[in-house]
Amino acid sequence: MSAVILAADGVNVAQNVGFGIIAAAMIFAALKVVTTDNVVHAALWLVVVLSGVAAQYILAAAEFVAISQVLVYIGAVMVLFLFGIMLTRAQIGKETDLNNKGWALGIPVGLALLGLLAWAILDAFGDDVLPDAGPTPTVALSDQFLSIYLVPFLAISFVLLAAAIGAIVLARKD
């Protein structure tokens, strides 16, 4: 039904098709991240999810955020995860005890959360159509960062510095 409305409204069909394909891949990969038996495979499926998020950012006209996502998540965070996996595990391969004893409790919790969120979203934004926006200029973002968000910007640089020092202090051997 909604597809008919979309076609009638002249909504960008190619954008919707691209969104659907990427979203299906992301959901499949996210389910693999939380269900696979192999920690390394979970990390590689997470790469698929993060790339999908970056692609969705481009569809949502947020290029700078998409590039930051690729640089920070796929470039840095995933390498950190792979280092964490390699440094904490003796063997690479399937594991049998990756889940808790009470893991099945997560299924009703996740489904209930999804139902509540979906109900609230459809209730609030049921038929809002997103405008066809052009790319966001990076100048607009930097203007925000260096004017009204300046104090949070400085705060987050301090947080990153503290996290870097804290990680070194925690992880060094002596």
Partner: protein
């Protein structure tokens, strides 16, 4: 394009992440599930930015990315330290703080 497309996709990612945090026993896997949750939130923020036409949502998404980088750095350092002391990172073996 409908706004609910992005928001429902983010809701699915968030729920999958919550399931992972509850179900997984390995600390690194729990951190990966937290990444799923954080990405769902940033996707929402970017969608709201597109909806309102203001760039503030994208600014918040960049803050979320920075916080996630800091969180993963400290979290994995803690996991490494626990592994070095205990030779395990199974979360249900770490129960000294339980009342």
């Amino acid at each position: 394009m409908l706004a609910v497309n992005f928001l429902l996709l983010a809701a699915v990612l968030f729920s999958v992440g919550v399931y992972g945090v509850i179900a997984r026993r390995n600390a690194v896997m729990v951190l990966m599930s937290i990444e799923l949750i954080l990405n769902a939130v940033s996707l929402n923020l970017v969608a709201f930015s597109l909806m309102t036409g203001a760039v503030d949502g994208q600014v918040f998404a960049l803050y979320v990315i920075a916080i996630a980088a800091a969180e993963v750095g400290v979290g994995l350092a803690m996991v490494l330290m626990i592994y070095r002391n205990r030779k395990t990172i199974a979360l249900d073996d770490l129960s000294e703080m339980k009342g």
